[in-house]
Subunit: 203 residues, 2 copies
């Protein structure tokens, strides 16, 4: 693939309901586009079994998170089930300025805040082929109670209402196809005239 010199990296936001297989799609995507910087979120929630600090999340305490909010160090943050989740602004800015694409995996509230602050961000929403299939995937994990699963499905229906605010919609039927669509979206965004005017002589 031709690597075009970019004046600035793209800010890419990926959202999708719990159970859609977003992390699998992201792994596939980052495997093929190793130049993308995946932004690790900050959270005040406790690490789950197998989660590592700096890999899945940057785990901080409440006092530190509130200091970051007050100091304006976060691009966006939200409270979810009693815990803070947020995205550091500084690292992202540095990467974008260096022409590196930055990927954020955030939920719909955070995505709306990013859109408000960075109108040029590319927002992609991932859905399962159907709610029935989502329900099947959530049950297949064998980690959640029926009540939790029902809650996640209800949450998904609420999140779906925000889909019209996203630029692109990808159906995760097959992981490789979903990743291929996201790769095409990112290449197409690189081709947007406004991102390439510096290549045009005489205008």
């Amino acid at each position: 693939m031709m690597v075009q010199k970019k004046t600035r990296g793209q800010l890419i936001v990926l959202s999708g309901p719990s159970g859609v297989g977003k992390s699998t799609v992201i792994s596939e995507l980052l495997g093929q586009r190793q130049d993308i910087y995946f932004s690790v979120s900050f959270t005040t929630r406790q690490p789950r079994m197998g989660e590592a600090d700096g890999v899945n999340y940057n785990f901080v305490d409440r006092a530190e998170f509130e200091r970051m909010i007050a100091a304006g160090e976060l691009l966006e943050h939200a409270e979810y089930v009693g815990n803070y989740y947020g995205t550091s602004l500084k690292v992202i800015q540095e990467k974008l300025d260096a022409g590196i694409d930055v990927l954020l995996d955030i939920e719909v509230q955070g995505a709306a805040k990013v859109r408000a602050k960075c109108p040029e961000a590319v927002l992609i929403f991932i859905i399962p082929p159907s709610f029935e299939e989502l329900s099947r995937r959530l049950r297949g994990r064998n980690t959640d109670s029926e009540e939790t699963i029902a809650g996640r499905l209800q949450k998904a229906r609420e999140e779906y209402q925000q889909i019209p605010n996203y630029d692109y919609l990808v159906v995760n039927d097959k992981v490789s196809a979903a990743a291929a669509e996201i790769i095409a979206i990112l290449l197409a965004e690189d081709c947007r005239t406004r991102n390439r005017l510096h290549l045009v002589e005489g205008i």
Copy 2:
């Protein structure tokens, strides 16, 4: 590649200066995306060596072209270096309605008219890596006089002023890369939320 059911085909407009290698890129594109319908333009200019009626253009005389204009049979038409070029409306509508993507190879005036009539059309402009390279390619064809070449280069500079009206800009440095970018653009456009809302349950 996953074939998504589409409610409507996409209207794709490709423009670019004479000599940029647009027809080679289009051949490559159509070879890989055989589902695309390439709309053959009508023109009053003389066929060049190797050009066939109904393949490269539908070659008609001035009287017939003017009849088509008067009868409202054209989506757009323009005069370019003393010759008429135009696009038939009827066939395009039928293809789009059937969910088939339609590709138009037209110059900047025609593209502006298509944009005005079909705001959802995807407009792609192809440029050479530089004017110097364009000049080299025009000379390499060995078909045009120095005067004609100078005219084409001047025309290219004028056309470049319309680039900001195009959605995407593709640099034809290497044909395969340019075609790959166009294929990515078309896939990304299929992924646009507005083109996929029919896949979302509950909204």
